[in-house]
């Protein structure tokens, strides 16, 4: 009786989760399907074609916008990862005045609506005459990425045994050498997931980019925003499909690698 109840519960859970995933993936399915559609208007699926995948590479403004997205994403990720990792390391190691103020400032970009951060950055850029374009975009994206890097590295440092660092120093390694040879390899998973999160947030950002971009430096999400007024063309769907396939492949590869290293780590921990 109870066993039957249990399998029923399991079945119900599986069906429920399946429906949630349907909800999450349904529009992505539409995007993939309509990237092969002969009709230019994304209303009804007519016939199968690969035409948009060819035409995509002649759509200069779209490709340029995607290039800008990648430039901004990579630059702001590098800035946020370096500043955020250093900050997390310093804040966990040293006691100093005003630490709680930095803590509060770090939470502001997380809880504040993006639109408020966007307009306040726009206002300050305008006041300080910073030219609006790729530079202002990179600064703005770096600003909302830094806290997430700090949090993920903090989580990693929470379980970090400081005596390892002391041992290295006792053996004659300098501070900087200790950081790069002892500390960094241990906190690296946190640094990598922080960087990965930054990049993900940056390439999907709409609102902050909308306020902090300048003429001639369009990003892909802003280009899509422009197109939603007139109707999105299938070549945009084609580009999205390519990006999706590339990211899924990358994730699968990294999953396989991390599984290997996890397994090795588990083995070494058990020894």
């Amino acid at each position: 009786m109870s066993r039957k109840k249990k399998t029923n519960g399991k079945l119900f859970t599986s069906i429920y989760n399946f429906l949630i995933y349907i909800f999450l993936y349904l529009p992505i399915g539409v995007v993939i399907l309509f990237s092969f559609n002969t009709s230019k208007r994304n209303i009804v699926f007519e016939n199968f074609t690969l035409r948009w995948y060819r035409e995509l590479f002649t759509n200069q403004p779209l490709l340029e916008a995607y290039g800008n997205t990648l430039i901004v994403g990579l630059s702001s990720t590098i800035i946020a990862t370096v500043i955020g990792t250093l900050a997390s390391y310093g804040m966990s190691k040293y006691k100093f005045k005003g630490k709680n103020i930095i803590d509060i400032l770090l939470y502001i970009p997380v809880v504040i609506p993006e639109i408020v951060l966007g307009i306040s950055l726009l206002a300050i850029f305008n006041l300080s005459r910073i030219p609006m374009g790729l530079i202002s975009l990179i600064i703005a994206h770096g600003t909302f990425c830094i806290p997430f890097v700090v949090f993920t590295v903090n989580a990693r440092l929470a379980g970090f045994d400081r005596s390892v660092e002391e041992a290295a120093m006792d053996l004659g390694a300098g501070r900087i050498k200790t950081f790069f040879t002892v500390t960094l390899p241990i906190i690296l998973p946190g640094v990598i997931s922080g960087a990965f999160l930054s990049f993900t947030l940056s390439i999907d950002d709409i609102i902050i980019s909308f306020f902090t971009t300048g003429p001639g430096s369009n990003t892909f999400p802003l280009k899509v925003m422009e197109l939603t007024k007139t109707g999105i063309t299938p070549d945009v769907y084609a580009l999205s499909t390519i990006v999706l396939i590339v990211t899924i492949t990358l994730v699968m590869v990294s999953q396989r690698d991390s599984k290997d290293s996890k397994y090795k780590k588990m083995k070494s921990e058990n020894l």
Binding site: P27, I28, L86, I112, P113, I203
Partner: protein, 288 residues
């Protein structure tokens, strides 16, 4: 000699903490303080004029805006409730799954993030339109004889918001359910409490922090996501976010836009204060 030693000791601290301090002061604190001042300034219809006024704040009470505030609140409330309702069972089963399955479930939740949200919302538009797949299906099955007007309604905006913000609710919920001590639930079961009772008296109170953090991460952004209401609701449904966007772009009245932003900041301060009073930890808001 002593002084240089002191300085020498401080170098590692300065090297690690200065960059973030300077960055946050210049690009988080200063801009927000400037917007606060901006909300007390005037405009000549084109540029900001440095003359003190309270008129932006009296303008906030304009009846036309009051309707937009209440509309925003209702939308944010329904979005948050829907995310809790659908997200809780999902997060629960994810937290209870075996390790390998957990990773896969988490990945499947995050993958949609890598297709731009505007494009995914347009996918919904295609599905829900008058000649879209949903209406065709319902007509075909004979459940309706007229295509339903789903797009450009409040319901469509809520659907879009839930769609975009769902992971932000699931992640903190998952984190709090994952921390739950299973032996407590077993004990409660052994002592004769049924499942409903165990949930009400144990599981729910213990995972409440996750619900609070999820609420903050969903409710607050949904007041500002003007692009969701633009795509799913057309020009009919306006949010506080649309008001701010309009003042900073088309209407070009930055001081008024700044005053609207202050209203949002006031709402956040109230929510975060309540959250902390209820025992919420700010650290839980950084779980993404």
């Amino acid at each position: 000699m002593k002084k240089s030693n002191e300085l020498h000791k401080r170098i590692p601290l300065l090297a690690t903490v200065s960059p973030v301090t300077i960055w946050l002061i210049l690009l988080v604190a200063a801009p927000l303080i400037y917007v606060f001042f901006l909300s007390f300034l005037s405009t000549d219809g084109y540029n900001v004029v440095y003359r003190f006024t309270l008129s932006n704040y009296t303008e906030l009470l304009n009846p036309t805006y009051l309707e937009i505030y209440s509309n925003s609140f209702i939308l944010a409330l329904f979005t948050t409730l829907a995310c809790i309702l659908f997200g809780y069972p999902f997060a629960y089963s994810m937290a209870r799954a075996a390790k390998k399955k957990k990773t896969i479930m988490m990945l499947l939740l995050m993958v949609p993030f890598w297709t731009n949200s505007l494009i995914r919302l347009n996918g919904w538009k295609t599905l829900l339109g008058k000649t879209g797949a949903l209406n065709s299906l319902l007509l075909h099955l004979g459940l309706i004889d007229q295509p339903l007007e789903i797009l450009y309604t409040r319901g469509a905006v809520i659907l879009g918001m839930v769609y975009i913000l769902f992971p932000y609710m699931v992640l903190p919920l998952f984190a709090s359910i994952d921390k739950l001590d299973m032996s407590l639930l077993e004990a409660s079961n052994d002592l004769g409490a049924n499942k409903v009772k165990t949930f009400l008296y144990l599981t729910f109170p213990l995972t409440a922090p996750g619900i609070f953090s999820g609420t903050i991460l969903v409710f607050i952004p949904s007041l500002g996501y003007f692009f969701v209401s633009d795509i799913m609701g057309g020009a009919k449904t306006q949010l506080i976010g649309n008001l701010i966007e309009n003042q900073f772009k088309a209407a070009n009245n930055w001081p008024l836009g700044a005053a609207f932003s202050m209203l949002l900041i006031a709402i956040i301060i109230i929510m975060v204060t309540v959250y902390k009073k209820a025992g919420g930890d700010m650290k839980d808001l950084g779980v993404l």
